[in-house]
């Protein structure tokens, strides 16, 4: 893990990168990293996120600045900008059931090719996908998701990069921290090693590439 400035971390992300962003309706989202993506005008991004948040918050900021070309998410209903950009064919939106989305990311981070899920069977979600029968039950083959970068927000990070989260701000963060080539983290608090007890570390330090240092 290297401690870097927010400018330096975001400068590593090229235009057109695939980026996972932690958070759920903007809760547990690394807002400083998104603000810097907007400031550096990184464009044509492929974003993987649970939802599109709302304008002015979380990944919503990236849509306010028209920086996204593809969004993979489970819900966009509370961000009218995304709906508009989707209808105008400016953003391609892949809607994925939330449980399938998180399992595809988990598979990507765990070296699996995908997962078999009953969710989506008999709905339009099954279109174009392989159906596999196991013990007489039908499942959809949902393939793994990985990304170039994961932008993660933790409650505590220690000097090594061990992470712990707070309450409902955990959500997709620890799963995404497994599934990207480069993991960039902001934390509410940076603390000495040992403050997070071994039992309470959720994301182990070796997964973290960059921790944004206090300014």
């Amino acid at each position: 893990m290297r401690a870097v400035s927010v400018e330096e971390a975001i400068a590593r992300i090229p235009n057109g990168a695939t980026v996972m962003v932690g958070g759920f309706m903007g809760v547990g989202t690394p807002e400083r990293l998104l603000d810097e993506l907007v400031r550096q005008r990184k464009s044509e991004l492929s974003i993987i996120s649970n939802d599109a948040a709302v304008p002015g918050k979380g990944v919503g900021k990236l849509f306010d600045a028209s920086l996204v070309s593809t969004l993979t998410a489970s819900h966009i209903g509370l961000n009218p900008n995304v709906q508009k950009q989707m209808m105008a064919n400016k953003v391609a939106v892949n809607l994925v059931p939330q449980g399938t989305l998180v399992e595809r990311i988990r598979a990507g981070g765990c070296g699996l090719g995908g997962v078999l899920t009953p969710t989506g069977i008999g709905t339009i979600v099954e279109e174009g996908k392989r159906k596999i029968e196991v013990d007489g039950k039908s499942f959809l083959l949902e393939t793994a998701l990985r990304s170039d970068f994961a932008l993660i927000h933790a409650f505590l990070a220690d000097y090594l990069g061990n992470l712990a989260y707070a309450l409902t701000a955990r959500n997709f963060n620890p799963v995404m921290a497994m599934a990207a080539d480069t993991v960039i983290v902001t934390a509410e608090n940076i603390v000495p090693v040992g403050v997070i007890a071994p039992d309470h570390v959720v994301t182990p330090a070796p997964l973290v590439d960059y921790l944004i240092a206090n300014g």
């Binding site: 509370l78 059931p97 009953p118 979600v125 309450l167 409902t168 959500n171």
Partner: protein
Amino acid sequence: MDAQSIIARRVARELRAGNLVNLGIGIPTLVANFVPSDLKVFFQSENGLIGTGPMPEQGMAHPHLTDAGGRPISALPGACVFDSAMSFGLIRGGHVDITVLGGLQVDAEGHLANWMIPGKMVPGMGGAMDLVTGAKRVIVAMQHAAKGKSKIVQKCALPLTSSRPVDLVVTDMAVIGFTAGRITLLETAPGVTVAEVMAVTEADLFIPANVPEMKI
């Protein structure tokens, strides 16, 4: 009593001590207001919490503690938190006893459509498909009709949420079940007649000899 309170009160009567319950947004959220205080029920919020409590007092909201809509909530003593993989493992894995969801249409086979209106509204399915597929019991809480049009239809015209049929539908006019695979009128709302329910129900409802009034 207003339509939403009738629905929420009636759904609340389905909850049993020890149940793990997931409430969707809209009318389902109101169900928590009508659970007797001595009934110990675990409420799950799909964004990663079991033990959701009411909105915190003014000035006590924590930015890292919200419901699935991003609104501030509190956590009850004994609450626990987990990531989204665990949250949907609980949901898909059959660990949730009851899920209560809103609906756009429910049909005679119990199929639910509740996540998009093609060409008009594409919010996304969020967690709904996993909930309907995986929960032990699925209850739909919705208005019986929208702008005079029945939401209880013979066959869903809107895209389905799951191929798994729901177990119970509670509306402002009736309780509908699927006894022996047949769409059946189980109860009518206070002051509502069977004929009035039939008049605003498109699906071919089976009417038992005795249809009691909802107790709410």
